[in-house]
C-alpha cells in the first residue's frame, strides 16, 4: 500500500548526465509510470499530464508523486571542493527498497559476501559501535564503526582497520562516511540512492564523493558495481521479500544495531512501503 509518507518523499529517477536535450525517459516510481523530459532548456517530470516536482542534486534527478513534506536532505561534505563526484549508474534489484538500504548499513556480511575486498573470513568480529535515532533531524546515525578490510577502496593497498559512519537521512537513502585512504582525517562519501519501483523491486543509484584524483573513472564505477552485484545475490534471496518490521520475524544480534534502529525508525515514521508489518 502506498501511504502518504512514502508518497510525499523525494526519489531519484535518473542521472543528471542522462538529460540530453530532447530526451524523454520513462521510469516507474512506486508502480506508477512517469516521464522525465528535457526540452533543451529545462527538465520536467510528469505523471500523464500532471506535472511533478523536480530538482537536480548530487548528480541525480529527484521527483515526488506527492507534495514533499520536507526539502531534500543535505550532504554538505559532498559539495566540498576537491572531491570527485561519481555517479555509478543504475542497478535493478528484485528486492524491497528498504532491504537494499538495510543491507548497505550492514558490516557483518563483508567477510562472506565481499570476501577479500571489504572483509576477510579470519576477521569477522564486529566491535561495539554507537547508534542513535536523531529525533531533531529525523535521521538514523551509526558512529564509531570499525572493521578490518583487505581492500577498503579502489585506492587502498593492503588491509586496514576502516572507520565508518552511517547516516540514513531518508527511508530510501543511506550515506556511508568512510576512512579516506588518500587523505588522512577526511571521510570518503558513498551513498545509496534508492528508487522504489514497487514494494519488491527497486533501482539503486550509487553515488560517491571521494578524495581520489588517481583512479580512473571506469575503475571506480567498476569497483562499486562489483560490490553491488555481490550484494544483489543476497538481496534477491531474502525471505520474505518485504522488510519485516515485526521484531519477532527475525533474530538480530548486537552487530545489527543499525538495522534495528532503522526498522524502529521506519515504524515510528509509519513508512510501510516495502515493509511487512504483520508477522506472516
Amino acid at each position: 500500500m502506498i501511504n502518504e509518507i512514502a508518497l510525499n518523499d523525494w526519489y531519484p529517477v535518473a542521472m543528471a548526465s542522462e538529460l540530453k536535450p530532447g530526451c524523454r525517459l520513462n521510469r516507474v516510481l512506486m508502480e506508477r509510470e512517469i516521464q522525465i523530459s528535457n526540452d533543451g532548456d529545462k527538465t520536467h517530470a510528469f505523471e500523464g499530464s500532471r506535472v511533478l516536482p523536480l530538482q537536480i542534486r548530487y548528480d541525480h534527478v529527484w521527483t515526488s508523486l506527492g507534495a514533499p513534506a520536507r526539502p531534500l536532505f543535505e550532504i554538505p561534505e559532498g559539495e566540498q571542493d576537491g572531491r570527485r563526484l561519481v555517479a555509478c549508474g543504475r542497478v535493478h534489484v528484485r528486492c524491497s527498497p528498504l532491504r537494499a538500504v538495510e543491507n548497505f548499513l550492514d558490516i557483518a556480511h563483508f567477510p562472506y559476501v565481499h570476501t577479500g575486498i571489504l572483509g576477510a573470513e579470519d576477521h569477522p568480529e564486529v566491535e561495539r559501535y554507537d547508534v542513535e535515532i536523531d529525533d531533531e533531524k529525523d535521521e538514523v546515525w551509526a558512529r564509531q564503526v570499525k572493521f578490518f578490510q583487505p581492500q577498503a577502496a579502489k585506492s587502498a593497498e593492503g588491509g586496514i582497520m576502516a572507520d565508518y559512519m552511517y547516516r540514513v537521512p531518508a527511508p530510501t537513502t543511506s550515506i556511508l562516511y568512510k576512512t579516506c585512504p588518500a587523505r588522512v582525517g577526511e571521510w570518503d562519501i558513498i551513498t545509496l540512492f534508492v528508487q522504489p519501483v514497487s514494494e519488491t523491486t527497486c533501482d539503486v543509484w550509487p553515488w560517491m564523493a571521494l578524495y581520489d584524483d588517481e583512479t580512473p573513472f571506469n575503475d571506480l564505477v567498476q569497483f562499486q558495481q562489483t560490490i553491488f552485484m555481490q550484494d544483489r545475490s543476497i538481496l534477491e534471496n531474502q525471505i520474505p521479500a518485504l522488510l519485516p518490521l515485526d521484531p519477532k520475524m527475525e533474530t538480530p544480534t548486537r552487530a545489527d544495531l543499525t538495522s534495528i534502529a532503522y526498522r524502529r525508525w521506519l515504524k515510528r515514521r509509519r513508512m510501510f512501503y516495502g515493509a511487512q508489518t504483520i508477522a506472516a
Binding site: A108, V113, T201, N237, P240, T253, A255, I278
Partner: protein, 240 residues
Amino acid sequence: MTQQSPSPTAKPSSSWIPVALSAGFRPGSNIRVFADGNDIALWSSFSGKLSAWVNRCPHRGMRLSHGFVRGEMLACIYHGWHFAQDANCKYIPAHPELVPGEMICAQAHHAHEQDGLLWVSCAEEEPDAPARLPGFGVRSLLIDAPRPVLAGVLEVTHEAQGRWELTLADQPVILGVQDWPEGRTGVHLLTKEAVSAETKKMLSRELEAMRRTCEAIAPVSASASASVPSGPSSRSGDAA
C-alpha cells in the same frame, strides 16, 4: 539415513517426496528443492548426514540453500552463521566469543535416503519409510510443465509414493516426480537394473525428448516464471 522406528502416529509414507538422486549428491552438497510447496535447503554434511531445512536463515531471512557446508554444519552465506545437525546455531562470526542461545535455530523437516533417491517430508511426525523399490540414478530434469501434462504424455504402468514405473526406450525405469512452483515439475530418472553408460546416455536423450514434448503442450510458466513485480497483495505473503 535418518529413518527411525515407525511410530503409531506416523503419517502415511506417501508424504515422502523424492527431491533428488542420491548419485552425485556428495558430502558437502547443498541444493534448493521443493516439497509440498515448501522452499527447502537440502544438504549433506562432510560425514554424509542428510538434512532438509526450511530455506530461510532465522537471522535476516537469507535462503540457506546459498550457504556452504563446513564439516557437520551448514553456514549461511550472508553472515556466516553456523548451524549444527540439530538445527541449532552454534557460531555467529560477528561475535566469535558468544555462545548462541538455543532459541536461535533453523527449522528442520525430515530427510531420508533410499533406493537411489533423496526424500523429504514436511509432515510433523517422520512418516514410515517408502516401500522398497530399488533404482539406479540416471539424471534429474526440471520440466516447464505441470504433473498432469507429464502423466498424459507418459504411459505409466504403476504409480506409488511419488514414483512412476514405466518403459522408456525399452528399458523398465522409475521416475521420481516432484512438484515445483509455477507449474514446473522435477523428475528423477532411475533404471531398475544397473545399465551401461551407453544406455544411460540414450535414456537421458529420451528424457530430454519427453521434456520437449511436455513443454510444447504446456507453455505455462513462460509467463508465470517471468519476474512480475508483485504488488501489495504479497504483503502478508511468503514467510515460510
